[in-house]
């Protein structure tokens, strides 16, 4: 599953640590989500989408492979 977390974070000029603090998760978890190694839970996916002002289906695309 591809996601747009890195793209949105870079667009807003945030570091991974800053995004992690805003989402109350660890920096390592942000790295894992961005690289597609970890699929966040539904509550966290909603938190991420809400943080960037997007919908969950705009942030996470189930039809695309991570890294493609």
């Amino acid at each position: 599953m591809r996601n747009r977390v890195r793209e949105q974070r870079v667009r807003r000029g945030l570091s991974q640590a800053e995004l992690a603090a805003a989402l109350s998760v660890s920096r390592q978890t942000v790295i894992s989500i961005e690289s597609g190694r970890y699929l966040p839970s539904l509550p966290l996916a909603f938190s991420i989408a809400r943080f960037f002002g997007l919908t969950v289906d705009k942030m996470f695309d189930p039809d695309e492979e991570a890294g493609s």
């Binding site: 660890s26 920096r27 390592q28 978890t29």
Partner: protein
């Protein structure tokens, strides 16, 4: 009542308690091996200090040691525990089989471990899963029966 212990101290505190109890067991046992309680306390102290220090590091292990793990780190811990339990089960089965094969009297601890693993698994199923499932939606008076009659 919820304790207000600092999260970073939780795991070290439990380890300290376990170390003290283990050392006390050697003392209570008495005999010529009472001195084992001293290295047991030292080992526990080293573990407690290293856990406390690890709890401050910016790593997955640090987050777990400091009791501040997020959902991915908790999942990581859960999967590691499951793997450890699987390995313990396989090792116990191998031990039990070997003990039976050589007619050894030490077969029962392996069986006890297997029984505890099996009991724990069933307890987990009843606590976290099966019992919480309700009836299927189409079992009530709902949609499918009506739509099928159209």
């Amino acid at each position: 009542m919820r304790t207000s212990i600092n999260p970073r101290l939780r795991k070290p505190a439990w380890n300290a308690l376990a170390g003290v109890v283990f050392a006390a067991a050697w003392l209570v046992r008495g005999g010529p091996l009472w001195w084992v309680s001293i290295p047991a306390v030292i080992a526990a102290a080293v573990r407690v200090i290293s856990l406390y220090r690890m709890g401050a590091t910016d790593t997955d292990e640090g987050a777990l040691a400091g009791s501040r793990a997020d959902e991915r780190q908790r999942q990581l811990s859960l999967r590691s525990r499951a793997l450890a339990c699987n390995l313990a089960g396989v090792a116990s089965f191998v031990g039990l089989t070997a003990a039976i094969a050589v007619s050894a009297p030490w077969w029962w601890p392996f069986l006890a471990v297997l029984a505890v693993i099996g009991f724990g698994y069933l307890l987990g199923l009843s606590n976290y899963g099966v019992a919480e499932e309700g009836p299927a939606d189409d079992a009530d008076t709902g949609y499918q029966a009506r739509s099928g009659s159209r």
